[in-house]
């Protein structure tokens, strides 16, 4: 990562690299902090550290400094309680947390590190590890160990594009966020961070900072479209819209195309574990079946309806567990079906709803319901039921001016040809919807 920063600072030192509620930082300022922090890491003889800081410029500087001197950095999620952070420190065996928070584990403030007088640094070490964390939707997050060299192996394809302004719509503890950081540095562009990762704040930041490029989950984009529609304000003139982290429904692609006519639309398929993303740009849902051909940097196969992957940029392994051998296949947890020339996503394995013994995938149902006039947001999920285990239920946020009864009856009509187990048995109308990490929770229900 340091090599990307050095190329950028040589080419355009005074360009802004990060703008956020905490201020703006130029490439030269960032580089200065990185030199100081790298020196501090060497002086303190650190090997493995965590970063917990709401300012993305600070996170970027610490990660770049780590990558300069071979220290394994790991970005912690912002939300957890102090106790949860102490547990992560213990579990991941971090020597120190760079943070301003008063937790019981050893801490050091960003300002203190950045105030170090930059000194001579050793040559670039051979191994430069970084640890990312899984979201931990099912249990405690796991530490995913990567090497910078593997993560950066395709960045030479990214041309400088200093006019690009990228929205940060993922936490930097998420792999999606790390990918944005890497891309921004490689493109020598600007990162725009909002007050929070909530679509409302993101929209404000997009308008205020003239964001041109944005990457988010389908849930994020669905909420963002709803925000734009409901406030009636200016539509950001996006040139690039990327979606990833969840299955992308076709209806959503259509709505985004309509809303952002000047944007290229990419679907990104990736996971923290496989290090490198696959991008699909043809505007159709799913992956082209050609992805199943062997030989690429990322290879796929379908086994028992689940997508398996192996990647040349794969993780080394999970923290505290055995290393994963090179070229090993791993299950993605994504259920797929090959339809014609396409690998279509049916949802997460954990999202499948068991309705009286029949497996129902919520995503295709959400896709249908989202096309009904007046539906602003929809979530389909499994709702516990004493007679059949679960029934498929939907929750809907309406666009203004629509009648609940009329929309409910239209929703039933568009689902009438589905197998009985897949028809929504409960339709509820909500004022708003909540998400976790801008992803929709489906399987477990309430």
């Amino acid at each position: 990562m340091i090599e990307l920063l050095e190329a950028a600072v040589a080419a355009r030192p005074d360009d802004v690299v990060v703008t956020s509620p905490y201020g703006t930082t130029t490439y030269a300022e960032l580089h200065r902090d990185v030199q100081a922090i790298a020196t501090a890491l060497v002086e303190r003889d650190l090997r493995r550290i965590a970063i917990l800081d709401p300012d993305p410029a600070h996170v970027l500087a610490v990660l770049a400094a780590c990558s300069r001197v071979g220290v394994e950095g790991c970005v912690y999620p912002l939300a957890p309680t102090d106790d949860a952070i102490d547990e992560m420190v213990a579990r991941f065996e971090h020597e120190v947390v760079v943070t301003g928070r008063g937790i019981s584990s050893p801490v050091v403030g960003y300002a203190e590190l950045a105030a170090t007088t930059p000194g001579d640094l050793p040559a670039l070490p051979e191994s430069r590890p970084i640890m990312a964390m899984t979201t931990g939707t099912s249990g405690f997050p796991r530490g995913v160990r990567h090497e910078w060299d593997r993560l950066l192996r395709t960045t030479h394809k990214i041309k400088p594009a200093p006019e690009q302004r990228w929205l940060l719509a993922y936490g930097l503890n998420q792999f999606g966020g790390l990918q944005i950081l890497i891309h921004v540095l490689a493109a020598q562009a600007m990162l725009v961070a909002a007050e929070s990762f909530q679509p409302r704040d993101a929209l404000d930041a997009m308008r205020a900072s003239g964001v041109t490029h944005a990457s988010g989950t389908p849930t994020f984009w669905r909420f963002l479209l709803a925000e734009i529609k409901s406030d009636g304000g200016a539509v950001p003139d996006l040139r690039q819209v990327s979606l990833g982290g969840e299955a992308v429904p076709g209806a959503l692609l259509d709505r985004i195309t309509e809303r952002f006519p000047n944007a290229n639309i990419s679907q990104i398929y990736g996971a923290t574990e496989f290090g490198q993303n696959v991008t699909v740009r043809d505007g159709r849902p799913g992956l082209p079946i050609s992805m199943l051909e062997p030989g690429g940097d990322v290879e796929f196969k379908v086994q028992d309806g689940e997508l398996w992957v192996r990647s040349k940029a794969s993780m080394l392994g999970y923290h505290g567990e055995e290393e994963v051998p090179d070229g090993a296949w791993r299950a993605t947890g994504d259920l797929v079906e090959v339809v014609g020339d396409r690998i279509e996503f049916r949802g997460r394995k954990t999202d499948v709803v068991n309705v009286g013994g029949v497996k129902v995938h919520p995503i295709p149902i959400e896709d249908r319901v989202s096309k009904v006039d007046g539906v602003s947001l929809v979530r389909a999920y499994g709702r516990p039921n004493p007679m059949v285990g679960h029934v498929l239920a939907v929750e809907i946020v309406l666009e203004p001016g629509y009648d609940e009864k009329a929309v409910a009856s239209e929703v039933r009509a568009v689902c009438a040809d589905l197998p009985p187990a897949a028809r929504p048995r409960s339709i509820k109308f909500l004022d708003t919807m909540t998400t976790t990490g801008n992803k929709m929770l489906r399987g477990a229900g309430r």
Partner: protein, 78 residues
């Protein structure tokens, strides 16, 4: 009265489910020989009742209701 609203919810559900019924008498069976609800339809009825009233006799009681009257009695008692 809650019980009247419960009756209205049941009627609306039955109409939507295209069920033939004359009068909604208390001893009318929900299942065979009566309304002929299958398990998914019964599950739906319990879900719509819960949506409307916050609880329903299918999820709460020790035994599943078998007649219209047993469903209504749950709301009468409430």
């Amino acid at each position: 009265m809650t019980v009247d609203r419960a009756r209205a919810v049941i009627v609306e559900f039955l109409q939507r489910a295209n069920k033939e019924f004359g009068e909604l008498t208390d001893d009318l069976s929900l299942y065979g020989g009566g309304l002929e609800l299958d398990s998914l339809e019964a599950a739906e009825l319990s879900a719509v009742l819960e949506d409307e009233f916050g609880s329903d006799p299918f999820s709460t009681g020790d035994t599943l209701p078998e007649t219209v009257g047993e469903v209504l009695a749950f709301y009468n008692a409430a």
